[in-house]
């Protein structure tokens, strides 16, 4: 019968030197790490390198790592710190602190737009514009909450916030998005007016 290990067990086996656990952790989280990392830096290679460095460092220090029952959160945090380090080491970046690390969310892909009704397209564009108008931290919080489906507690850890501020951050972000979307309805109405 297959035995399903939980996060703590995988992590502990890895800390005890189990090669299989190391490889499992890598394979299981590399995609979401990349997806998270690429939001901060549009440079794919830098993100990939940072993920590699992260895993090399984890492996070399495996016996000294602290325990965790949430591997994804642990890795997200570590990757974010590493990206901040790597970016501030780069000459062309001026000093970056956690709070100013940009966080981008690209949305609609052009390929999909063609078959859609214009009203949907318009709303998607407005949503994208809305995301751009958010603060980087609002974007990150909304991304983690609705795309990565993290809990408020996890978001607090990654963004160094308390519960209430995290909730407010998300709440205000959503309100902004909503305003952009209602604008789309007006635009749509106008466009009908012009066409007819």
């Amino acid at each position: 019968m297959p035995i399903v290990k939980n996060d703590s067990q995988w992590w502990d086996s890895f800390r005890n030197g189990d090669e299989k656990a190391f490889s499992w952790i890598f394979n299981n989280y590399v995609q979401s790490l990349y997806q998270y990392g690429i939001r901060f830096v549009a440079d794919e290679d830098l993100v990939k390198d940072s993920i590699q460095e992260l895993f090399i460092k984890l492996y070399n220090n495996r016996s000294n790592l602290s325990a965790t029952d949430n591997i994804q959160l642990y890795l997200f945090r570590a990757l974010k710190n590493r990206l901040i380090n790597n970016l501030s080491n780069k000459k062309d970046f001026i000093s970056l602190s956690t709070s100013t690390l940009p966080f981008e969310v690209e949305n609609s892909s052009d390929a999909e737009l063609e078959d859609e009704e214009w009203s949907v397209t318009l709303r998607k564009l407005q949503l994208e514009k809305g995301m751009k108008n958010l603060t980087p931290r609002q974007r990150e919080a909304i991304y983690l909450r609705y795309i990565k489906e993290m809990s408020i507690d996890e978001i607090c850890t990654l963004l160094n916030l308390n519960q209430q501020s995290a909730r407010n951050l998300i709440h205000r972000g959503i309100e902004k998005l909503r305003k952009e979307l209602s604008l789309a309805i007006i635009l749509l109405f106008l466009s009908f007016f012009i066409i007819h």
């Binding site: 090669e19 490889s23 590399v30 990349y34 590699q52 795309i147 309100e175």
Partner: protein, 404 residues
């Protein structure tokens, strides 16, 4: 189910925080369909909010970038290369050996870096291959080719790698299929997966013959390296290795390496079992478990490594007991009933419930003919030992016979 009025005061942000709502929008839970549809119909103001919230939810997660399989594998191999090596060789700080390594690497640089393929793969390379598939969930024998193509084989098939890299597949009844050499820049390994209840054999590129037990898997190259022949095994297998003094043959497993020049031996290395063993039939082998000293064994000896106490031992055995499975005979010498049932469970892909007899110290001796079906085997077992069996939908329950 929530009350119709539950969502009355909800705005978009609250809706997005509501688990039932999110699960409904993402179509993970359809049981609330009617409920939310009714809400939308009856409450126009709420309907607009529901619509906006669903739109945000669905379109935000539209377009997550992802790494290709190739990129992931490239990253993994970079990680393996750059991390600290667990190499007992270097740890011993044996200068002579270090010089030898340096000399070898110089020679390799000299020959040309382009053609160089690392002769000894690290364990994690193999693990990254075997863990891409789940043996437990496989029902048929599968051969994964270096180009990621997957072939399903019938029970007792034979896979033969020709000198020219072509693959010949032969079924139990002699039907032959030949596949031409597959080119792949990326992955040079075959991966053979044998689920419980099936078995198969492989003839490697050097002519060596491997018979694999049910519930086993092997990773092997299409062509061996110039200086070394290496395969990786999880499970149990019987090896008949073609002699080649210049090219050692190495079987890697999770916990031990078995190095030979040309011999036949049985290897047992199930990752989940508490012991691993090698039984030598002919020739000589050298076993190395987890950075320990090499142990040499001679024919009729069995090397055993115990994970629980980390001890290794060598004992004299009757090799027939360990290799008769190859001829579909299970030889038992005062074997515990529970371990016989475990073996049968693997062989026939059935599941036993033997809680009722686990405590009774029943030991069996004799030979079981594994060509018979499981029903016949169990009939024999219940004749020679004080047990009876009952088949349910999912399991075979083993009980003690009531005393008369």
């Amino acid at each position: 189910m929530k009350d119709q009025n539950f969502y009355n005061d909800f705005d978009v942000p609250q809706l997005l925080e509501d688990r039932d709502f999110v699960n409904w929008v993402k179509s993970r839970d359809t049981s609330n369909n009617l409920f939310f549809e009714a809400l939308k119909r009856d409450n126009k103001e709420l309907a607009e909010k529901i619509e906006t919230a669903s739109f945000i939810l669905l379109n935000l997660s539209d377009n997550e970038p992802s790494l290709s399989k190739k990129e992931v594998q490239k990253m993994w191999s970079n990680i393996k290369q750059k991390r600290q090596k667990e190499n007992p060789f270097l740890r011993k700080a044996n200068y002579l050996k270090l010089i030898a390594v340096a000399a070898v690497s110089l020679a390799i640089v000299y020959i040309g870096i382009d053609n160089y393929i690392s002769p000894a793969e690290s364990l994690s390379t193999y693990l990254s291959i075997t863990q891409q598939t789940n043996l437990e969930s496989a029902h048929e024998i599968q051969l994964l080719l270096p180009n990621s193509q997957q072939i399903t084989l019938s029970d007792r098939s034979e896979v033969k790698i020709n000198n020219d890299g072509a693959i010949v597949l032969r079924s139990q009844h002699g039907n032959k299929t030949t596949l031409n050499k597959t080119e792949s820049s990326f992955n040079k390994y075959f991966h053979l997966i044998i689920p419980r209840g099936k078995r198969a054999s492989v003839i490697l590129a050097d002519g060596s013959h491997v018979t694999l037990k049910p519930g086993s898997q092997m990773v092997f190259p299409s062509q061996f390296h110039k200086k070394r022949r290496e395969v990786y095994v999880e499970g149990e297998a019987f090896f008949e290795v073609t002699k080649n003094r210049l090219k050692p043959f190495v079987v890697k497993t999770q916990k031990m390496d078995v190095e030979v020049l040309g011999t036949s031996f049985n290897l047992c290395a199930y990752p989940k079992k508490p012991t691993q063993s090698v039984v030598l039939v002919t020739g000589a082998v050298q076993v190395t478990s987890q950075n320990r000293e090499h142990v040499n064994i001679v024919p009729n000896q069995r090397y055993l490594f115990n994970n629980t106490n980390q001890k290794e031992s060598v004992s004299k055995v009757d090799v027939e007991d360990y290799i008769s499975w190859k001829e579909d005979i299970l030889t038992l010498k005062s074997e515990a009933l529970t371990s016989v049932l475990d073996e049968l469970s693997n062989y026939y892909n059935v599941s036993f419930d033997y809680k009722a007899v686990a405590e009774a110290n029943i030991r069996l001796s004799g030979k079981l003919d594994l060509k018979q079906n499981i029903g016949e085997i169990l009939n024999v077992l219940s004749l020679i030992s004080p047990i009876e069996y009952k088949t349910t939908n999912t399991q075979i329950k083993i009980n003690l016979k009531p005393k008369i």
